[in-house]
Symmetry: C2
Subunit: 222 residues, 2 copies
């Protein structure tokens, strides 16, 4: 369903140039549950951003549902993102002047879900992450782990076919982490394809396969 | 050196009121290395903000170096913070339009360190966290774990007597986490008092004591 083909990503120029991804090849099949691990700065978030159509490769190709992402213009890419993808960002990126409930409803507005059903679906998602009684709060009134959970609820609200989660349990204690991993198992059971970046072994072993990044390359898939 | 005495913290009013801290008592002695653990939303960051003079209790008292923090005005509190405390925030809070080097130098400007020595000390701190070659980059050009390490370098630059770190290894892989924990051991060996929030057992067991938070209370100190 998603394929990175000889993907390279460079940032900057000359002396300061950073090679974030170095000829990365990765195939994600429908229904896979893949964990991505690797040292800080090894290219994981960069790869996730390309998978999520939030960034384009410098060289190489990204094929999603048979379409070459680099051949789509920005609008077509945005539509693809809204319909097919859910993304949990490493730093959440919640809208600071929207409540938890409004933040979770946002993707549904882009996907043209009728207003009457939006609130109900958003409340269900917030219940699923244990935050229904905080739905009227703004992100700066929520703890780090609570913000992360709102970001997770927002990512799953449109029933995406591909869920990309960049360290989705990084700010969570072990018991809340367990709840989130159970939620991911449930989504996987419903046929959703998951790619999760994590640096914790307990989280990675819940996946089917683990891809190891090092210096912008994938050195191993187990 | 730092004592929370019957500290209560409320946010909001009426139905939406949240009791973040509920009669918290905590004594941190000079040279201690304390880990703080507990579920998402249990009050850890709130307690850290009070310890760091970034927030005041609703009821109760915070005594730092023999002074009641609530009796100091905002300027006196700011001075105390700059001279005595180092803080690694759960969400880093780096200045987005300053380079990594400039971000690390900032606390020294407030502490009136002469300009000639500032750059040198900042480079040493960045070397210590493995980021010297990225010193000219801005935070949005750095990975999550790199930003976290810049935040750590900034927190230790003024040789604070009390280092407060809110999930300082949350975005780091295990090998980079090990480097940071070795750095903390080194600082502890030099007499610095450390309080670290973490949700990972491997990190917590490097400390001398662990305080467990639950629903705004400390239920256990081992
Ligand atoms: N400005 C605020 N207004 C309302 N509630 C708040 C505010 N700031 C924090 N809270 C609430 O206070 C409680 C404690 O928050 P705190 O940030 O201390 O938790 P935490 O233990 O650090 O959690 P985490 O592990 O998720 O970071 C949470 O329920 C949080 O939502
Ligand atoms: N806009 C940018 N300009 C320059 N370098 C960048 C930029 N964005 C990312 N990089 C660099 O690309 C490399 C890979 O970054 P990436 O965010 O993918 O790492 P990561 O594996 O997610 O790390 P972490 O585990 O710390 O989150 C890093 O060295 C990073 O500093
Ligand atoms: Mg990353
Ligand atoms: Mg917190």
């Amino acid at each position: 369903v998603a394929k990175l083909l000889d993907v390279c990503k460079f940032y900057g120029h000359g002396d300061l140039q950073v090679k974030a991804l170095d000829k990365v090849n990765l195939e994600v099949n429908k229904g896979d549950y893949l964990a991505v691990m690797g040292a800080s700065g090894s290219g994981k978030s960069t790869a996730m951003n390309i998978l999520g159509c939030l960034d384009r490769p410098t060289y190489g190709s990204y094929i999603l549902n048979g379409l070459r992402a680099e051949e789509l213009d920005d609008d077509a890419l945005a539509d693809l993102r809204n319909d097919e993808l859910g993304f949990v960002f490493q730093q959440f990126h919640l809208l600071s002047d929207a409540t938890a409930l409004e933040n979770v409803m946002l993707p549904m507005i882009y996907a043209c879900v009728p207003e009457s059903t939006r609130e109900e679906l958003a409340k269900t998602a917030l219940e699923r992450v244990g935050l229904i009684e905080r739905m009227q709060n703004y992100p700066n009134q929520l703890s780090g782990g609570q913000q992360q959970r709102v970001a997770i609820a927002r990512a799953i609200i449109n029933q995406p076919s591909l869920l990309l989660a960049d360290e989705p349990t990084g700010a969570l204690d072990s018991s809340t982490t367990e709840d989130v991993l159970n939620l991911f198992d449930e989504l996987h059971g419903q046929g959703i394809t998951l790619v999760l970046v994590t640096h914790e072994d307990e989280v990675a072993k819940r996946a089917q396969k683990i891809a190891q990044f090092k210096d912008g390359k994938i050195i191993d898939i187990t």
